[in-house]
């Protein structure tokens, strides 16, 4: 078995290390990073736009390049999350919270560097996991039916309450609002439209990019514009940029977070549906729970960047498990990668491993090479990205707005999406004024529809019997964990800590 793995990996590396494939990998990572830093253009849009480029390549080259684009955009998305509070995809919403706070304190360099280092570590572990345990992990993923998914989502949503640093009531309100926003669109079970007001552009629901760009990016710009003291605070911000690289203390603080984040990401990433998002949120929640002083979170805690970034990347790697071994895509980007394989005439599925071992193992090897390239490429770029922050707001803001509009439009080619982004921007501004945090809303928006879908599916299959959630062991385990989480929140000592935290944040 071990010998097999070694010979397989040797085959993989010999495929991936060929000069042509290394070149494709590099081009993919580079183009991905460059596109990823454009606000609003996430992995899905980037891969969709660049898919035709790979039609004339051979299968191995095409899939290596597309994967490179995927990692690159993912990482580029984290860069904008940290620098300008613009999450490129749902998983980097979490990175925004402490990453952007660090950037405002002049510590964008360490934040970007720790994101790259954490991602690389997670990517390495993820690659090893895929190589060693791919097929058995895929079997476990298949054990997840509707009840398991539902219970998992419940746990994640409860954990979201831990994320917030303000009032618990406001957090719950934001979660409920997020669930409601997630309802918009066609109901999977009945095919009925909900809250679409007859607009066919809303039939598939609001896209994540619309909600996130509005609530985070647009709202941030609005609030900066009204801030008269802006120029002064920016001077401070510029002066304060000290080191580009994390200090030894930073590394020490981040190390545990990176390891835990990787483990969490690897676990959730194997499950199709919501993997990277749940991983990033959970990893953040875990760090906050473990921290000696949870009140630092949301104000630039380096663990708050390291954990979700590592979790996200580990999940992304593990998402390849079911995609490659079962031909079941995790999400839109994976579906596109499978499409690319199909165009190459390779039917994705369990036979890829035996029929095209060069492709399967070559891709696994190139995952690691791609992650390594990302670090090599991005650490020197950190300085360049930081310089972007020195661009005066009167140039930076219009540029961001234009790119945001292009990015939002590119997802579905719908102009309605741009108007909806503006609407969410205004909403986001109101939330900022009311000190309501958008992150729990986003998590609920992403998970809500999945949760509802799986709840109804589980009850449909059980013919309306709700005990199915506690009689299936994996589902029951999640519910027990949820109950424990709730208990922790309710017990007095914890409540006291929260109140201290609230007092802290109000004092600021």
């Amino acid at each position: 078995m071990e010998a097999d793995i070694i010979s397989n990996l040797a085959l993989g590396f010999s495929t991936a290390v060929s000069p042509v494939n290394l070149f494709y990998c590099f081009i993919g990572v580079l183009v991905g990073t460059l596109i990823g830093v454009l606000p609003g253009i996430g992995p899905v849009a980037a891969v969709a736009m660049l898919l035709p480029l790979t039609f004339n390549l051979d299968a191995v080259g095409a899939i290596i390049m597309l994967s490179g684009i995927y990692y690159g955009t993912q990482y580029g998305g984290s860069t904008t999350a940290i620098l300008v509070n613009l999450p490129g995809e749902s998983a980097s919403v979490v990175t925004c919270m402490d990453g952007y706070a660090m950037a405002r304190q002049g510590r964008a360099g360490p934040a970007l560097a720790i994101a790259a280092i954490g991602s690389f570590f997670a990517g390495t572990v993820g690659t090893i996991l895929v190589a060693l345990l791919g097929p058995p992990l895929a079997e476990i993923a298949l054990k997840f039916g509707a009840p398991e998914y539902f219970s998992l989502m419940v746990m994640a949503l409860i954990a979201a309450a831990v994320l917030a640093h303000g009032s618990m009531l406001k957090t719950i309100c934001m979660i409920v609002l997020g669930l409601l926003v997630g309802i918009v669109g066609t109901d999977v079970n009945s095919g009925m439209s909900r809250f679409t007001f007859g607009a066919s552009g809303l039939a598939d629901g609001l896209s994540f990019v619309v909600v996130a760009m509005g609530l985070f990016g647009f709202a941030e710009i609005l609030s900066n514009l009204q801030d008269k003291a802006d120029t002064a605070s920016r001077d401070i911000l510029n002066q304060k940029i000290t080191g580009l690289m994390p200090t030894v203390t930073d590394m020490k603080a981040a190390f545990g977070a990176i390891v835990r984040g990787t483990a969490i990401g690897a676990f959730f990433g194997t499950l199709p549906g919501g993997g990277p998002t749940i991983s990033a949120f959970s990893a953040y929640a875990v760090e906050k729970k473990l921290a000696k002083d949870p009140s630092r979170f949301g104000k630039g805690a380096i663990e708050g960047v390291a954990a979700p970034e590592s979790a996200n990347n580990a999940a992304v790697q593990c998402a390849f498990i079911t995609t490659l071994t079962l031909g079941i895509p995790h999400g839109a980007t994976m579906a596109l990668l499978l499409g690319a394989l199909t165009i190459q005439g390779i039917a994705p599925g369990p036979q890829v491993m035996t029929q095209r071992p060069d492709l399967f193992w070559g891709l696994i090897a190139s995952m690691w090479i791609g992650n390594a390239m990302l670090v090599i490429l991005n650490l020197p770029l950190v300085g360049l990205w930081i310089k972007l922050l020195k661009v005066p707001y009167r140039f930076l803001f219009p540029a961001i707005m234009v790119f945001m509009a292009i990015g939002v439009y590119s997802v579905n080619n719908l102009d309605l999406d741009i108007y909806m982004t503006i609407l969410f921007g205004i909403l986001g501004y109101i939330f900022l004024k009311l000190k309501c945090e958008p992150a729990p809303l986003i998590l609920a928006f992403v998970l809500g529809p999945l949760m509802e879908e799986n709840l109804r599916r589980a009850l449909l299959i059980s013919r309306g019997d709700p005990t199915v959630f506690i009689t299936r062991p994996i589902s029951a385990a999640f519910l027990v964990a949820t109950a424990l989480l709730l208990t922790f929140m309710i017990i007095p000592s914890f409540r006291k800590k929260r109140e201290e935290a609230v007092a802290d944040s109000e004092a600021l």
Binding site: S200, A203, D204, T322, L326, G327, A347, N412, I461
Partner: protein, 328 residues
């Protein structure tokens, strides 16, 4: 320089209605004057998109102009198809219509802003994809007869997955349920991938899945194929009988894909496109490409396409009504 006399001819033709043949041939000769937009009403990377890109690239080479695939996904393909229906009918906007956009959506949605027959000029089919009825290997039935008998012995107890409410995968199974008189509960999933995963994991017992999505698992022995929905057996699975030969004559479900132009596109352009597209779809290399994607090359005439749509609208309309599907 060369276009000048042609332009004159065009004007002459427009003014003197007596000379009809002249402007017609002129239009066909100058066409296409700019890149052609091929609207695909589904996201990039899906099966419709892949076929469209394969054919589009070849069509562009033949016409000497680039064919640009414009993905306008959403709302079951109705958004993109509506855009195509309302585009300028000059041959520079085409769409890849399928059973979903031109038959099922109009039949299943309460309101669709286009008429699949009246708003389009059908050009030709290019490909069709079969559907395959697969069971989780734990189900105690080795063929369609045993499956129907099993379902009859426990009415309302078994479940089947579909790629979504109103999808072909649902309608195929509903059609079979009607023909066999069995009660199997529909469990909709969000797309072919999740529906396949649920069947692989045994969350549901059966799936009338699209061939490209389920074939690899059937070949790997992880799903048991018991019948194909087309009138002829699939070359990929020669031992699997059709539903029709398993006791339900006339049963036929497949997903066809064809080219459409907006209503009013000039005849000579349509004729030219029909010729080129038929050549492309009949090309041996292209057929091999289709087969790799689980589809097979088919062509027909505009008249045959209209008949096909009308027959299928009626056929699926009945299923939609019987199953009580209404998408709003």
């Amino acid at each position: 320089m060369q276009t000048k006399p042609k332009m004159k001819a065009l004007f002459a033709g427009v003014i003197t209605s007596a000379v009809l043949a002249l402007p017609m041939t002129t239009v066909a000769q100058t066409y296409p004057t700019k890149p052609i937009r091929l609207i695909v009403a589904f996201p990039a990377g899906g099966s419709t998109d892949i076929i469209a890109r394969l054919v589009g690239q070849r069509l562009g080479e033949k016409l000497g102009q680039q064919v640009i695939v414009d993905n306008r996904g959403g709302a079951g393909g109705t958004i993109g198809t509506e855009i195509a229906a309302k585009a300028t009918p000059d041959g520079h906007t085409l769409t890849m219509g399928t059973t979903s956009t031109h038959v099922i959506a109009p039949a299943a949605y309460a309101k669709v802003n286009y008429d699949p027959v009246k708003d389009f000029e059908p050009i030709t089919l290019v490909a069709s994809t079969p559907y395959l009825l697969v069971l989780h290997p734990g189900v105690k039935a080795n063929n369609l007869k045993e499956f129907v008998a099993l379902a009859k012995s426990q009415p309302g107890k078994m479940n089947y997955a579909s790629a979504g409410t109103g999808s072909t995968t649902q309608l195929a199974m509903e059609m079979l349920k009607g023909a066999a008189g069995v009660d199997i509960v529909h469990v909709p999933y969000n797309g072919n991938g999740p529906a396949g995963a649920a069947t692989l994991g045994g969350q549901v017992q059966a799936l009338f899945g699209s061939m490209p999505a389920v074939l690899p698992h059937a070949q790997a022995g992880r799903l048991r194929p018991i019948a194909v929905g087309t009138s002829r057996r699939s070359p990929a699975l020669p031992n699997v009988p059709t539903v029709a030969e398993s006791g339900y004559p006339g049963f036929e479900v497949s997903l066809w894909l064809g080219f459409f132009a907006p209503k009013g596109t000039p005849k000579p352009i349509l004729t030219r496109l029909q010729k080129e597209l038929t050549d492309i779809a009949n090309n041996a290399e292209m057929k091999a490409q289709f087969e790799k994607n689980g589809a097979s090359g088919v062509t027909n005439t505009p008249a045959e396409m209209n008949t096909l749509m009308k027959t299928e609208l009626e056929k699926y309309g009945k299923v939609v009504k019987a199953a009580g599907i209404s998408l709003k």
